[in-house]
Amino acid sequence: MAHVKEHKEPQAHTASESFLTPSKLFIPLSQHVGAICQPTVKVGDIVEEGSIIASSNVFVSAAIHAPLKAKVVKIDTLRHPILKRAQGIILEPIIETKNYPIRQTIDDLTKEQLIAIIKNSGVVGMGGAAFPTHIKLNSPKPIDTIIINGCECEPYLACDNRLMIENGKEILTGIEIAAKIIQPKKIIFAIENNKPEAIKKINQAINESTIKNVPVELKVMKSVFPQGGEKQLIQAITGIKIPGGKLPLDYGCLVTNVATCFAIHDAVYMDKPLTQRLVTFAGDALVTPKNIWIKIGTTLKELFDKKILEFKCEPKKIISGGPMMGTAIDGLDYPILKATGGFLFLAKSGNTKETACIRCSRCVDACPMNLLPLEYAKLAKKEEFDAAMNIYNVADCMECGLCAWSCPAKIPLTHYAKTIKKYCTKK
């Protein structure tokens, strides 16, 4: 764990904007971990806003919905921020405002009905991994503690912070629904101490909320990276260390991101599927970094064409996600996915020459998973991937990036860990 420079200004302090009328939508069929969806529409179809356009029968999957009333133009290979190339549906929206009904109460809904609504709305974890939420909420083991993750420890990103400030009430309603499904003994809302405004607003929302029978506690966390990592957060709050291969539910814990709670609220109270989200656009190559409500499938190119975002200088690096764990992409033709928290535009590529390891073990001290990055990097350089995996348990690595961040010799240690993991899973 280490303190990484935050770079969260000015986007953490400016009100979010919205851009919900894109001229084209590029929706990849792979939005989350789990099975890839199959299209349920044909080229030429007119789809209604919020109707399912792709789904899968496989257990771990979530349906994909049309963000707007639109014409299906093409089903083709699209650019994908993580997979690089993936199948997707191209839509041409027909602008028409749809009014969503607002549900007055959820008291008459059973646990099963609530899970079905969430499933049909395609809600996934919006913190990064995008695990389908209906599966997480339908835990086969009893859950004592729900932890709401409002840490947002990645530098630059501020969308969760803005969401907590602007939509605290909806987040709490989403938590109430999750609590109704899971029946936990307690709910803990974790926010890092670098977000005083969000802490104030969420505290207020907790006091005003109608959650019954379960105590909701706001816990202010130290701002260190990666505090928002699932295992780190559970350890910091409950003291439980979850070993590799085990899940939080094995220990009676469930962690969910604030944006996911907001999406649960939309799904249950408004019957509105997950088709838009708040995304951070930041970095020193932008004139004004900001957070924008955006339809899933909108490309970066359109945002620049419509002058919603403007370059101050030519970027040297564009990152989908945060600077510690995100993926660098090679252009503006990439769409926003359900789990995209942000896009960063950096004026410097930030790459420095690698020099010899001086065995200072800053990577060892930084690693939140007790690994020895310098040792497995040495083996990886010799292409002894199996030895690295077996001796140094590289499988535990969650690729948080702290080892490479802390290295004075600028060795890409995280990259070596990824390489070892990839090589060993391929076989």
């Binding site: 295992k231 970027p315 690096k317 764990m325 020099t355 065995r359 073990s361 020895l372 961040w405």
Partner: protein
């Protein structure tokens, strides 16, 4: 638009190897100043010879191995200065050159260069001179009067003549000894600088000094002639070794537990050599001995897997 698509993370902290070495040099500045005050032109002469020879050797080896020059990472400069600081003022120019060549070429570059050496290069240079020029390495000039007079170090005085040097002189450095090891005050200033900036890890110096103090306290309780705790901490190469040699990242363990073991081992070895060997001092050999054990310590102190 040409975009870089390297793997994550996309941020670095701004510490580099060169900056680490620069901080070590800054931390050594007070000790260097003290050496010049007490040992005058002899100190300056040794510092220049050792640093220059070390830098030249580093450059020559990288040229021979057809590798990019590593001279700008300043590690050779640090080794050279540390070597000079642990030489007696009367060391001749050819001995200083030989020691520098041995430390950079044999002890460092032949093992693979920065990061791959097993032994601390500066200490290896001194160990080489101890074997090659034992007389020169045990003749110590008196401070301020480097050309005319010589006398035993406080440790030798205590061990062989049972004469105790006042703690104040040990603290300030007004005693015979290697040029950089005499002033405890200046070494502590530099050491604290390194520890506060977290350039050096505090575990090794702490465990080393605590262990030596404990052994010294027990020894003193049984036989006051062995020297007090303060005497042992302030005399000889104890502080220079604990703060600058045993904190060399390359030759010390990478795990936290390992660093404690390393420090404790050094502490015990130092006191055993001081009490029971033919030499008055034991810091150099103790650290070199623990350097050999470092790979073994690393192997047996691997951190436990998260959650298991």
């Amino acid at each position: 638009m040409s975009l870089n698509i390297s793997s994550s993370p996309h941020l670095n902290n701004d510490l580099t190897t060169q900056k680490v070495m620069m901080h070590v040099l800054i931390a050594l500045a007070p000790a260097i100043a003290a050496s010049m005050i007490f040992f005058r032109h002899k100190a300056l002469f040794l510092l220049i010879i050792c640093t220059l020879t070390s830098a030249l050797c580093e450059q020559a080896i990288t040229w021979l191995r057809k590798k990019p020059s590593t001279i700008s990472d300043l590690s050779a400069a640090v080794s050279g200065i540390l070597l000079a600081l642990i030489l007696p003022p009367a060391t001749t120019w050819y001995a200083a050159v030989l020691a520098s060549v041995f430390s950079i070429i044999i002890a460092k570059q032949l093992f693979g260069g920065l990061g791959a050496n097993i032994f601390n290069p500066a200490l290896m240079g001194r160990a080489f001179l101890m074997a090659a020029y034992p007389k020169m390495m045990t003749t110590y000039s008196l401070p301020y009067n480097v050309d005319a007079l010589s006398g035993p170090t406080p440790l030798a005085l205590n061990k062989f003549s049972q004469v105790v040097t006042p703690n104040w002189d040990l603290f300030i450095g007004n005693i015979p000894g290697s040029i950089g090891e005499t002033s405890a005050l200046c070494l502590i200033i530099g050491g604290v600088y390194l520890l506060i900036l977290r350039i050096a890890d505090w575990r090794v110096p702490l465990s080393l000094l605590v262990t030596s103090s404990l052994v010294a306290a027990i020894g003193y309780a049984f036989n006051p002639g062995l020297g007090s705790v303060a005497f042992h901490l302030l005399s000889g190469g104890m502080l220079l070794g604990a703060l600058f040699m045993a904190t060399d990242p390359v030759t010390t363990p990478i795990t936290k537990t390992g660093r404690y073991i390393f420090g404790i081992g050094c502490g015990i070895m130092i006191m055993v050599l001081r009490y029971r060997s033919g030499l008055p001092e034991g810091v150099m050999y103790s650290i070199l001995f623990m350097n050999c054990l470092t790979p073994l310590i690393n192997r047996y102190t691997r951190p436990k897997r998260f959650g298991i």
